[in-house]
């Protein structure tokens, strides 16, 4: 069997978490991973390190990472790391890892995190447990990742016994965020120099558009209005915006011109694949439900307890969508305040 670039005997007793930034803060999933990483590290008495790549204004990010439990932060600073490109980030992360030789390397399963981890694992010739829904620590510092397959129907437990680092990507939201800690034994920042060549970085960002309606078929959240919402798509739009999603509709509101034809969901409309579909005031006709059958989770709000939509929903609420949607918007707004201030 081929070996990784370094083996278990050379590996250090450290769990390293890739810290992905989003503007001036760390992505929530990175903090979640630090929280979990702390717990796993404590089980075996290891250290927890954060890997931070970037160019400027790194200090506040480090503070955040220490608060959630990192013992050390490995920092590589370089002009080519100012924004994420898979070439520069892979190369820099590779150099840091080869320098520090952590036993475990964790990364959020975000689009960039997956790009990075996928290339890094090959560069290091090691195993990667992808898209984990849980992580456990076994004797001798063996990491076991739980993953799902076959459309979520099968759970598999996967480990990388011999190769190092043991790599895993973890979906956002899997692990809870622990409250920040005040007492810390050590807070070490280690600057690791990396060499990067401009010629390596060949990805060009042609355009980045924010706020322009994403395609409803690709949206992670779709809030669908049926005849029962009486044209109040303004409410649904507010909800969709809060959740980072898009508004869709059944055929009747489209017919009566309340919303564009492109947003019709169903057999003769579009099929969407969101994480969540929130269906308000739609009876649940088959020609409609084929458009949401690939949604991971379906929430239905309908005044009629007998409405067939409830048969194809994960969570159902019998009630007036025009009251429940505003209440939900309110509830989400309040909790957002709670999170950022807490």
């Amino acid at each position: 069997m081929a070996t990784s670039l370094y083996g278990a005997s050379e590996a250090q007793d450290v769990i390293c978490v890739f810290l992905e930034r989003e503007g001036d803060t760390l992505q929530r999933v990175s903090l979640e991973l630090l929280s979990k990483g702390r717990e796993l590290a404590d089980e075996v008495g290891w250290k927890l390190a954060g890997l931070l790549l970037g160019y400027y204004r790194m200090l506040p990010l480090m503070g955040q990472a220490f608060e959630v439990g990192a013992d050390e932060i490995w920092v590589a600073e370089h002009p080519l790391l100012k924004t994420f490109t898979v070439e520069a980030y892979t190369s820099a992360a590779f150099q840091v890892i080869m320098n520090r030789k952590p036993s475990i390397f964790l990364c959020g399963a975000t689009p960039n995190g997956r790009d990075l981890a996928g290339r890094l694992a090959v560069k290091l010739r090691t195993g990667l447990t992808a898209d984990c829904t849980d992580l456990r620590m076994r004797e001798g510092g063996i990491l076991v990742g739980e993953v799902t397959g076959f459309g979520g129907g099968v759970l598999a437990l996967i480990k990388t016994p011999q190769h190092r680092p043991q790599m895993a990507t973890v979906r956002p939201g899997v692990f809870p965020l622990k409250p920040p800690r005040t007492e810390r034994v050590s807070r070490a920042v280690e600057i690791i120099s990396v060499t990067l060549d401009e010629a390596q970085v060949r990805t060009r960002v042609v355009e980045q558009v924010v706020g322009r309606g994403a395609d409803i078929t690709q949206s992670p959240v779709v809030v669908v209005g049926g005849r029962g919402i009486q044209g109040r798509f303004d409410l649904l739009r507010q909800l969709a915006e809060l959740l980072g999603g898009e508004v869709g509709a059944t055929r009747p509101p489209v017919d009566s011109g309340q919303i564009e034809r492109e947003r019709q969901v169903g057999q003769t409309g579009v099929v969407c694949r969101p994480k969540v579909a929130i269906v308000c005031g739609a009876s649940g006709a088959f020609q409609f439900t084929v458009g949401i059958q690939h949604a991971d989770t379906v929430i239905a709000i309908n005044t009629d307890p007998e409405a067939p939509i409830f048969e194809t929903a994960d969570y159902g609420v019998v009630g007036d969508a025009l009251q429940i949607v505003p209440a939900l918007i309110e509830a989400l707004r309040n909790s957002r305040v709670a999170v950022t201030s807490g």
Binding site: D255, S256, Q267, F286, Q287, P308
Partner: protein, 386 residues
Amino acid sequence: MTQVEHLTVDDARWDTLFERTRGAVALCYQCGVCTALCPWGQVREGKPLSVRSLLRRAQLGVPDDHEDIWLCTACAQCESLCPRGVPVAEVFQSLRGMAWEERRVPKGLPSVLWSIYWNNNPWSQPPSHRSRWAKGLEVPRFDPSEHEVLYYVGCTAAYDRRAQKVARALVKLFQAAGVRFGTLGDEEPCCGDAAKSLGYTPYFEEIVQNAAQVFAQNGVRRLVATSPHCFDTFRNYAPRYQADFEAEHYTQFLDRCLSEGRLRFSREVPLRVTFHDPCFLGRRNDEYEAPRRILDAIPGLERVEMARSRQDALCCGGGGGRMWMETSAGERFANLRVQDALATGVQVLVTACPFCIACFEESVKAVGAPNLRVMDVAELAAMAIE
């Protein structure tokens, strides 16, 4: 006629079309009866589906990328009175077939064919869920040594929650009549009506042949279908592929059970109803009386006719593959048909086709007639037993 000179005429196209319609396209002598009868004329003021001129263009071999070739619902309204006996819907299917070859098909239609290919149904539903409609019912797997007929459920009744109720009502009726029946469960093959209607004939032929083979392997000699569309395919197309079984629509089968005294209706169903003839049962297969006899045998039920009925019944708009294409709000035949029903003052608009039910139920809401119910003959019949 001067316009014709500007058109490019393509002999090869004409030959292909001639061959595919087995010469039928040549019969048309341009009288225009079809255009006048076609229901599209009733919903599209000023721009009817000009069947006659499309046929003329076809005869001339004019490459037709006209989106109108996708409108035909195969209702056979025109065919029933065409003095030359032109199978208009088949001509449209052939034109659609050429459009497939040139990759000029409306969005969404390739997905319908892929769904049949991967899922054995045109509704993108998992093939392993095909027999779920029967949950909690006693529905045995077909066994030729025990069963007199195969109940062919069909994709729509198997998956569409509304149409499932029809299949369940039928099971109740079969049981009440002591019918020894079984189904093919998840192995039931798709009939291919969608592929035929959408004009992808070579694939349709593959599907029917496969279905015929599955039936033969299972020793099926007689089948009863929920949908007139499946019934039509099995009755009129399967024989072209050496199929050795007989197909009936369930209304025909129940009608016989009644006349043989196997099935008796004992409960009153005091409703005023009107029957809508599905095109694929009536005009396409000449069965107008069986469903009416069933309804008339139900005690307490009062049946009235709509102004246009039997040969003149207006199509619901769901045939010819239109179930998989969007029809703009003002152009749905079903809205007019619901008005026809409302004019009779009935409580229930009855039909015997899952496509009709889907179209009518939506139109009943669209035209704001909350007191008109849409039901299937089987559902009313099931109310009348035990």
